[in-house]
Amino acid sequence: MAAQTLIDSGQRVTMLDVGVEDRHYASLIPDMDFLSIRKTQQDQYRYLLGDSAESLSWGKVKTGEHLTPGRKHLLRLVDSFLPLDSDSFFPMESLAYGGLGSGWGLGCCEFSSGELTRIGLNSSEIDKAYTTVAQRIGISGNKDDASPYTIGRLDTIQPPPLLDRNNSLLLKKYQKKRAAFNKNGFYLGRPALALLTQDLGDRKKYAYRDLDFYSDKDESAYRPWLTINNLRKTGAFSYRGNLLVTLFTEKADCIEVNCLNTLTGKSELFRSKKLLLASGVLGTARIILRSSDSGHSRLPILCNPYTYIPCIQPAMIGKAAENRKMGFAQLSLFHDPQHNNMNVAMASIYSYQSLMLFRIIKEAPLNFVDGRILMQYLASGFQIMGIHHPEERGNQKYLELKADENSPTKDRLKAQYCLSESELELNREREKKFIKALRSLGSYAIKRINPGNGSSIHYAGTLPFSKTKEAFTLSPEGKLNGTSKVFVADGSGFNYLPAKGLTFTLMANAHITALKSLKNG
């Protein structure tokens, strides 16, 4: 997003990126919907399960476990080039072309003015940036009870996608109990999604193939690689792949950027007038720590705690597989007990169909024969509620960069992440309220699953915004304090992390940071 802003402003930009792509599965998926594939295609095992059945995983639920064969490339090379040790923090990082955005759930949430101020962002600037980003990526949504937390003040949105029968029923029941829900601080509505329901340029509107976990064929879901592809058609943008940025050195007349070629293992050096880092919070943290000669090795981290709760909707059990189903969240439930759009917790509600029975059958304490019959019967009534909690700083939430001669970068990240007892208790109580709320709508929680700290894939706060200019902080303009021409355009500066999906705000911040970098020298 920052790159597009710079190009639109007449700048010349070189993007240094590893850029792992899926060159294997994307082309295998036919131009059909999920149910048609299931009923007719002999080679469906290749892209639904994987040529080496790589979709199968056992043991403790891990971050990224849901990735289908066509998305597994998001994790390729990460263990080698981004080593991380922790027994309390299990993040997901990516060296993919387009980054973690290639697996984004598309949820777009405007943060409130209060939240933006607490983060350290200028709310009027970000509001304008939200409109710019929405016009670039295409957002569909609805004006309803959830819209203060989703589309907010946006008016350039497309209509929402169709609701499936499970979520239509939930919404209908909510509308009858709306007053009681709102009184308790709960607001249910359609999420805003970076998903087209009307054609936009060359991108087609969503076709309800229910292959959202497998393919981006029609480009109806926004992915950052779409922007990179478009920029590469311009003469002012240069993309250099297979390069891991390791560190930078600010000289009098330029910034030297050191990279490691992931194919050859050789170092490569680039020079630029300015540097904009947007490697994701953990990636940027590594680069900044390496580039400092202060010996400082520890940075704070923010990460939304996340729990997911499989639920069963008895009214929907024993129904035939549904055409026009969608893998993205169809409803969002917000908990705003103070009714002031601060410290809001968010649940996304998903139906279950295209991820198949094999992913869930092992969770039942039954033999596979009886389990199949039971799960086949229940699956039409399954819903998944994913709850994100807001996040504050804590002393036991940090990253450190330690030397490691065996790693290609000669270091590895160590992470510690522990919630305090009061945070754990607050989150547990909040989850109970969500479970109770959903139960009153006829969807019953089966169990709570904590996939581990870091599994929200929402990270921020390693270089907090600060006006004091101390080291390892960002100025309000996104400049790395202590430098004159290095900017950080990801979530590293956030002082607080709302539970609402942060990607839309990250993109808005990237746009603003890019604009501000132009004003700076």
Binding site: F358, N367, D370
Partner: protein, 131 residues
């Protein structure tokens, strides 16, 4: 693990799961995946696999018992693999995709659960004997 052993394993697992003989593609995928994982099964798991191979009537009981006391066992992982492979065979889509059911079907489900429970208890006892 010998290829022939994996082939017969694929066969008796598929027969247990769906009462179907796996086709060549399914057997090859099963073998290939087991080999590529390069796990060294525990002696206890090898014993179970050998017992099940010689006494295919026991697979359901072993599966049921392990589901209760050791769901992550190698035996279950292999069954799960064959399950996933069979699920992606379009010929069997009616056995996996959800279907419209009449309300009385819930009774069949209850009976299935009862059966599963009894098999689980029996399976646990059998596992003690095998081990």
């Amino acid at each position: 693990m010998q290829d022939k052993s994996l082939q017969s394993e694929a066969l008796f697992f598929a027969r247990y799961l769906l009462n179907k003989k796996p086709n060549l593609r399914e057997t090859e995928l099963y073998e290939k995946t087991i080999r590529s994982r390069a796990l060294v099964p525990h002696e206890r798991d090898l014993k179970l696999l050998a017992f099940a191979s010689a006494n295919t009537w026991s697979i359901g009981f072993i599966d049921s018992g392990l589901a209760l006391i050791h769901p992550g066992a190698e035996f279950r992982m292999r069954l799960h693999l064959m399950f996933a492979i069979l699920e992606t065979n379009p010929e069997y889509h009616l056995l996996f995709l959800t279907q419209e059911r009449k309300p009385l079907y819930a009774l069949r489900i209850l009976l299935r659960l009862l059966r599963a429970g009894l098999m689980g208890i029996t399976g646990c006892l059998l596992l003690k004997l095998i081990r």
